[in-house]
Amino acid sequence: MRYLDKSIEEINKLLKDKKIKPIDLVNEAFDSIEKNSDLNAYITLNKEEAIKRAKELEDKEVDNLLFGLPIAVKDNMVTEGLRTTAASAILKDFVPIYDATVVEKIKEANMIIVGKTNMDEFAMGSSSRTSYFGAPKNPWNNEKISGGSSGGSATTVASGDVPFALGSDTGGSIRQPSSYCGLVGMKPTYGTVSRWGLIAFASSLDQIGPMTKNVLNNALLLNVISGHDSKDLTSSKKEKEDYTRLIGKDISGMKVAVPNYFMSDIVSKEVKEKIEETLEILKKNKVQVDYVDMKYLDNAVNLYQIIAMGEASSNLARFDGIRYGSSIEDASSIYEMYTKTRAKYFGEEVKRRIMVGSYLLSGENAKIYYNKALSIRDDIKKEFDRLFSDYDFVIGPTTVTTAYNLDDPMDDPSKSFMDDVLVIPVNMAGLPGLNIPVGLSKEKMPIGMHIIGNRFEEAKMYQLAAFLEKEINFEGGK
């Protein structure tokens, strides 16, 4: 058995007792990454630096549970001196000159970055197939997508390369690939994790979060990356907390709301049945489960399209070939420099979204669409507030189906949005959402349950998730 397959406490004890060194873990990680290279989980590996770092750590005190452990970072978080591409040709040779706050934090915790993971270009997509570097594959079935946009992070954790990965979630991009790959994936409350150094897709929706095989590891990583950051004005000033503190505590008496829309015909029969089974487990354990009506859930995708594409059209305007990034040679005018650079180096999905976003904000459209979207967005939040005044959680499936085939057609521009129909409302309201694997389909593909908590109630979500993890004993877990 590899050391990396042991529990985090066991590994920590081995390190403390000097039975193993961080380099042993790094070597195991790279052995696995190299063996799984056909899964295309990574855009850039950080092997040399990781080995160097592991050796430096040999002289350091083992000061926390995550000390010396390898971690993969989604390639939209900037790493000083380590290429960061956001899976786009426009940044294919871009070497950042500063570290994202999350990167600083995992370095401070003496974790070791093994590489930058594959993703949809600028996190726009739901299957990681919009990556300039080709799509990552699902370790459960190599014909299938691992989801997106944090597909590479999901692939590398699910295949056992590393116990930890960071993802980012704008409209489900942590939870949906976690669901497709059988992982625990948390999108924390907006403002919990600093966005400084996260290449923005949609600023009001983006949030970084942990992807792991089990609940404890997930909570431990959130402990490391959360906390106020004065470099991000949207970062919450809430005091730091221990997200593991409720794990293992009794869940009886908790109340769960299941919006009827989440269990409607948009969800496949197989997924729905698995979720119903899981709800039965909860009921047996004295959790109250009520089916409820909730307004505006069916509008969330359209709001997301307006807000995310509008913000993205502005956020991605800076990629113009002037200060950094790819640029066409010998432009005859500044206009040509812009239009040809952006035409050549942005992919199809990105271009489509930037154009639609520009349209939505232009002239009178800002009033017709954008302001309206912000109004309904506020009402979605109010609907959640209403439910959370009576319930501890809002629950449903994370995805409508299990992971689909890599060669499924990509010609429907609406498809990538509809894949995330169940997870998008959470980003609209800034709430925390978590995927916990609850079983497998007939095809042996993971099915995930989506636990939505009230703002800043991640610890309670981990409490419920840990209970289910124990009850179900999901075979990909540990």
Binding site: M77, V78, T84, A86, L91, F94, P96, I97, Y98, A100, R195, W196, G197, L198, I199, A200, A202, S203, S204, S230, K231, D232, L233, T234, G310, E311, S313, S314, A317, R318, F319, D320, I322, R323, Y324, I334, Y338, S358, L361, S362, G363, A366, Y370, L374
Partner: protein, 474 residues
């Protein structure tokens, strides 16, 4: 009088006098090595986010206060999206919907007639980077990118180019005196755009608007508006129509030149800036800013007149803020203020200009200045003598009395003493006296020279001269 009524509006950008930029902590500075005052935020690097400089909000509150604006208590920012190489993120963070100040006014005095120039709004935004255009390329220096600006927009309520000039002078004075900006048009820390349209009657709708961009000085604002009025009048007289357009003032041609005809209007795709949460302006913030506002120029001028300075001295003193601040600390003293103003605006200014010093950099403490003024008021010191000892007064620490003594120029203003000396000189030079009486005017100069020689220049020359004349003519 022209048969057309002009309607003029002015937009002014001023750079704020802060230590750091609006959304980053790099230095807000001018005239430094290219791209030496930047960080990843100013360059619009991927993953960067804005923070908001406290001092920018304070200066915004201050400007709003002295421009009599209402202050917005809950503000957000907006993104103005346009592609331009001087715009690093290709959007500018500004305040489109919730400007920090609105509904204000500035009072001007047009030859004795007071008029309020109404301010529509004033908002905070970031400056662009500086472009230098070469033949084959454009060079970008991001030192200016992210320097804080406020843009102040008047209502279309200015009626003449002269009023426009007076408004700008007043605005500049207010913002300079409150340390909101150093308002140097030549360095671009104050920039003005003017727009003007003409119509025949007050009841007519506004005529076609022409904007004149980036005018380099206040006098050129007036001049360009006059030129533009004349140009439009001629066209209207000839029934020529013209489109809304942007022009610039060419100081070599001494006229406005077309830059571009306005197309369908720029599509800036404004939307709320999601990276900057609501900014709350509290009562405490406003109160503590108000405490930092010094006596304003209008009040200073009134005060100076009250204290006996001439109108011209009062005006000139306010134009020199260092000297005005200097004398403001003496307002309670019992001195001859007209004399004090003469001294400050005359010999002392000349000395300061020559030595390129500020008055605070000299040894002229408030106490020594009071002594100096009094010595002049009581005629102990003549203006000629002052010139001789001025550098000592400004550079040495010893008392004014000591300097006068040691310079051996105890200025004889005692008329009895002077009379005695004059009598002696007349007696000793009978030839010159008779030459004078025979109409040789040069003779009196010789006699005066003898008086000066006798006193080693220590006599007050105008007193001596008048006594000498008296004696000779009688």
């Amino acid at each position: 009088m022209s048969k057309y009524i002009p309607t003029i509006g002015i937009e002014v950008h001023v750079e704020l006098k802060t230590n750091t930029k609006i959304f980053s902590n790099s230095i807000n500075g001018y005239g430094r090595m290219a791209n030496s005052l930047t960080n990843v935020i100013d360059l619009g690097y991927p993953g960067t986010l804005p923070t908001l400089n406290e001092e920018v909000i304070n200066l915004g509150i201050k400007a709003a206060t002295v421009l009599n604006c209402k202050i917005r208590r809950e503000m957000t920012f907006d993104r103005k999206n346009y592609f331009y190489p001087d715009n690093p993120k290709n959007f500018q963070i500004t305040q489109n919907l919730t400007p920090i100040g609105y509904d204000g006014y500035v009072e001007i005095d047009d030859n004795g007639t007071k008029k309020k120039i109404y301010i529509e709004e004033m908002h905070i935004e970031e400056d662009t980077c500086k472009s230098t255009h070469r033949k084959d390329k454009t060079l970008l220096d991001f030192n200016r990118a992210g320097v804080p600006l406020i843009e102040i927009v008047t209502k279309p309520c200015i009626s003449t180019p002269e009023e426009a000039k007076l408004y700008l002078e007043k605005l500049k004075e207010l913002l300079f005196y409150t340390d909101v900006s150093d308002c140097k048009m030549e360095e671009g820390s104050m920039r003005a755009d003017a727009n003007i349209s003409l119509r025949k009657n007050e009841s007519d709708p506004f005529g076609t608007k022409v904007e004149i961009k980036n005018i380099g000085s206040i006098s050129n604002v007036k001049l360009s508006l006059e030129k533009e009025m004349a140009r439009q009048e001629k066209m209207l007289d000839n029934n020529e129509s013209f489109k809304e357009q942007t022009r610039r003032f060419d100081s070599k041609l001494n006229d406005t030149v077309l830059m571009r005809v306005k197309e369908t209007g720029n599509d800036y795709r404004y939307f709320p800036e999601p990276d900057i949460p609501t900014v709350i302006v509290t009562d405490e913030m406003i109160e503590s800013v108000k405490k930092t506002i010094p006596m304003l120029p209008d009040e200073r001028r009134e005060k100076y007149l009250e204290l006996g300075m001439s109108e011209i001295n009062s005006k000139k003193l306010v134009q020199n803020r260092d000297l005005s601040d200097y004398i403001n600390e003496l307002l309670e003293e019992k001195i001859d203020f007209q004399q004090a103003a003469n001294l400050l605006l005359g010999d002392i200014s000349e000395y300061l200009n020559k030595t390129e010093k500020t008055i605070e950099e000299t040894t002229l403490t408030k106490e020594r200045f009071i002594d100096l003024v009094n010595n002049i008021s009581n005629k102990t010191l003549s203006s000629k003598n002052l010139k001789d000892i001025l550098s000592k007064v400004m550079e040495e620490e010893s008392s004014i009395e000591e300097i006068i003594k040691s310079s051996n120029i105890s200025n004889i203003t005692d008329t009895d003493k002077i009379e005695k000396i004059v009598n002696e000189i007349i007696e000793a030079n009978p030839e010159s006296v008779s030459d004078y009486k025979n109409g040789h005017d040069r003779a009196i100069k010789y006699l005066m020279g003898q008086v000066m020689k006798e006193t080693k220049g220590g006599v007050n020359p105008s007193i001596a001269m008048s006594i000498l004349k008296d004696k000779l003519d009688n």
